[in-house]
Amino acid sequence: MGHSVISLGLGLGGGKFGTVSGRGRSPATGFNIDVRDTHANILARTGDATGVIAYGTDTEDIYVYDGTFWQFYQNT
């Protein structure tokens, strides 16, 4: 498992695909993740759809819900 290299606000959003909701289309600020919470609180969330993306305020990792688990992408 390699480390991911995504940085917030870098290259995400825009185009025909991307987020289906949230404040993700502003060209001035770039892609915006509105779920910003601690690792524990993100994992405790319920009812999210596949593809929901979150930012860990304590880990600085990105999380995406795969329908069963939260996949995480480490800040490097």
Binding site: M1, S4, G13, G15, G22, V35, H39, L43
Partner: protein, 308 residues
């Protein structure tokens, strides 16, 4: 509504994407971003696993260095140890069962090390005279035939290191890390035997780590399964390294017997570090072994792979 990536699979990616389009690929768990000429792929670092996921597996014994109430000066657990380099006389069991590992003699207490791990995860550092022990009870004793244990450990130099052993002699259950042949071997001599008789255990030895990597951190998992009549053993996940060893028929954490953590009296090389130790009173499924390995790997900065 929360920010949500559109999804696709690796065979259903959009045919005409625009630069910057970003999706979550459900069959690979990758985030994919279109650069304008091709898709850039970002691998998941794994499933995010919380402490509660481990708790839900009902560990029989859990020595967790990141738990808020793990280290104390003595078995009374009245004074917490939080200072780097301070002596620890009790590594408290987080499982709720009270199977604490203790040491009453000050000179033989390991020291708290807050710098050997990553992510501010502490460990206990043992000199060659340090040792913690647990005297088994009727409630701690479990069948060794269906059990799963995890160790997160690190050694300093190459040499012979006894991680875990029974009260006295070689007929009792021991886990030895043997590096004298230029590679690291896990030796059970044997595992799952009864101390009083020395019977019922399985003995095996397997080389898994080159001496150059011995100072790194490692996750060792041992799992037994009576139905399959097998003992499985894994180093940072991956392939089973126990071969066709049968399942033991004895017990573990035996009543009235002492389980020693690092037998310092043997006077071999030191220091050693114990980061974490978890015992499950069951043969965990492959998925749950992977879950615990992933949890420990993320926590201690160890790369793991799914078991096979």
């Amino acid at each position: 509504m929360t920010s949500t990536l559109l999804t696709c699979t690796s065979s259903t990616r959009p045919a005409s994407p625009a630069a910057g389009d970003t999706l979550f690929e459900t069959d690979t768990n990758k985030i994919i971003v279109y650069s304008g000429s091709d898709w850039k792929l970002y691998d998941s670092d794994g499933q995010a696993i919380n402490d509660s996921d481990i708790t839900s597996l009902n560990p029989h014994l859990w020595l967790d260095p990141s738990y808020s109430s793990s280290f104390f000066t003595d078995s009374g657990k009245g004074t917490a140890v939080t200072t780097d380099g301070a002596r620890v006389g009790c590594f408290a069991d987080r499982s709720g069962n009270g199977f604490d590992f203790v040491q009453a003699t000050l000179a033989n207490k390991p020291t708290l090390c807050k710098e050997a791990g990553i992510g501010q995860v502490s460990s206990l550092c043992y000199s060659n005279t340090d040792e913690l022990g647990f005297v088994g009870t009727t409630s701690s004793e479990i069948s060794a035939a269906n059990i799963t244990i995890f160790w997160v450990w690190r050694l300093s130099p190459e040499g012979n290191h006894f991680f875990l052993q029974g009260t006295a002699n070689t007929n009792e259950p021991r886990l030895r890390i043997n590096g004298s042949a230029g590679s690291l071997k896990y030796n059970w001599n044997p595992f799952g035997s009864e101390e009083t008789s020395g019977t019922g255990g399985v003995a095996f030895s397997t080389s898994v780590v080159s001496d150059a990597s011995i100072p790194a951190r490692h996750i060792y998992c041992l799992r037994t399964n009576s139905t399959a009549n097998r003992t499985y053993s894994y180093q940072n996940g991956g392939a089973d390294i126990a071969g066709s060893t049968t399942a033991p028929t004895g017990v573990y954490l035996e009543d009235t017997e002492t389980t020693k953590m690092f037998a310092g009296s043997l006077n071999y090389y030191s220091p050693y570090w114990l980061f974490e130790y978890i015992v499950f009173d069951s043969s965990l499924s492959d998925a749950n072994v992977n879950k615990v390995n992933t949890y420990l790997g993320n926590k201690h900065g160890i790369t793991v792979t799914d078991i096979s």
